[in-house]
């Protein structure tokens, strides 16, 4: 079963991508992007995992010799989760502007208006 975390990452990537491609609503599209992004977190954390090891936090009493899971991928994931939220907010702000200007959130409708 050791391939499951990787399979989950791939599944999240493709289900998010499918959502982006078929989206009929820009808010839905932004959320699908978020789903795609979360596949990178699953992938990073899955790569850094080492069987039987704990979190890389060595408070007193925890020997450094025990080792731990990889701290670098965890650092990557944790900063990116917060940054991802703000970037999603920026995209949603753009969506609000689109709604104000055109009165629709359907990407297909937007295209028809341009023609």
């Amino acid at each position: 079963m050791s391939f499951l975390p990787y399979a989950l990452a791939a599944w999240l990537l493709f289900v998010g991508l499918y959502g982006v491609v078929t989206s009929r609503n820009l808010v839905h599209l932004v959320i699908c992007l978020g789903v795609m992004q979360s596949s990178t977190y699953v992938l990073l954390l899955a790569i850094g995992y080492r069987t039987g090891k704990k979190a890389p936090i060595f408070t007193s009493g925890v020997s450094v010799k025990l080792g731990a899971v990889d701290p670098v991928v965890q650092a990557l994931a944790l900063t990116d989760i917060v940054v991802g939220v703000t970037v999603a907010a920026l995209l949603l702000a753009l969506v609000i502007e689109i709604w104000k200007r055109s009165g629709t959130l359907d990407p297909d409708d937007l295209r028809r208006r341009d023609e």
């Binding site: 890389p56 936090i57 450094v64 701290p71 670098v72 900063t79 917060v82 940054v83 939220v85 970037v87």
Partner: protein
């Protein structure tokens, strides 16, 4: 492009992408069998080199501190972008009444404001000792302020986080990260080098510049999220537009 054509294109191109992804995934080490030397070495030396107990924070704010500088500025730029987009086209109409009518929501919300803010401060302050740090704690801090909106009135939420204060906090959070880096240069070390006395491991007075950068990130994240909530809540107030 019609929907059918788009789906067809998606089917073909995602099949190619799926092939690449599966090819890449099969080349990865088996789950639980990772042997990356960088992380392993950091785990074994961070405690003695930087006097931290949380190695993840040492990576974020020291060993890879320069990357975090970039992340901070993505955060800063995104928050500024939201402010630019939404502040621009807003009029100063009378705010509709938005008081909470449910006593349960009000009581539980108000009871949670204090503990949430304290929890946020705790997570930020102990970021290099126990699980947590500026990024996670900053979100909890902002959450405490939003509870004030949920439980009370928009006005009291705004009173607790005036625009000027949030904007300044946002700038100071991002700016002080840069300043710490420059200070290290002046002290003769590399940019963002850890030049301050490392203190005693396992106490709050440890890890040199990590607490400073950690606090800067906490301030930056909390301010950015409060700013985002401001801008979006202002939009919600005018449903007829």
């Amino acid at each position: 492009m019609t929907r059918g054509a788009r789906l067809g294109l998606f089917a073909v191109s995602s099949a190619v992408l799926a092939g690449l992804v599966v090819w890449g995934l099969t080349g990865l080490p088996a789950f639980g069998d990772f042997h990356g030397e960088y992380g392993r070495i950091l785990n074994s030396v961070a405690g003695t080199e930087r006097h931290v107990t949380n190695v993840v924070s040492a990576v974020v704010f020291d060993y890879r501190g320069f990357d975090t500088l970039g992340e901070e500025f993505i955060l800063f730029t995104a928050a500024m972008g939201v402010a630019l987009l939404l502040r621009e086209a807003r009029d100063d109409r009378e705010r509709p009444r938005d008081e909470v009518r449910s006593d349960a929501v009000r009581a539980i919300g108000l009871a949670l404001v204090g503990p949430t803010v304290v929890l946020g401060l705790y997570i930020v302050a102990h970021g290099y000792l126990t699980p947590g740090g500026g990024f996670q704690g900053g979100v909890a801090l902002a959450g405490g302020l939003v509870l004030l909106y949920v439980a009370g009135r928009y006005r009291s939420y705004r009173a607790a986080s005036p625009h000027v204060l949030v904007d300044v906090a946002e700038g100071v959070g991002a700016g002080s990260y840069v300043v710490v880096g420059i200070a290290a240069l002046i002290a003769g070390a590399a940019y963002l080098g850890n030049v301050v006395d490392l203190g005693t491991k396992g106490t709050l007075a440890a890890a040199g510049t990590i607490p400073v950068l950690n606090a800067a990130a906490g301030l930056e994240v909390a301010a950015a999220l409060v700013l985002l909530f401001h801008e979006f809540l202002e939009e919600v107030m005018y449903p007829d537009e």
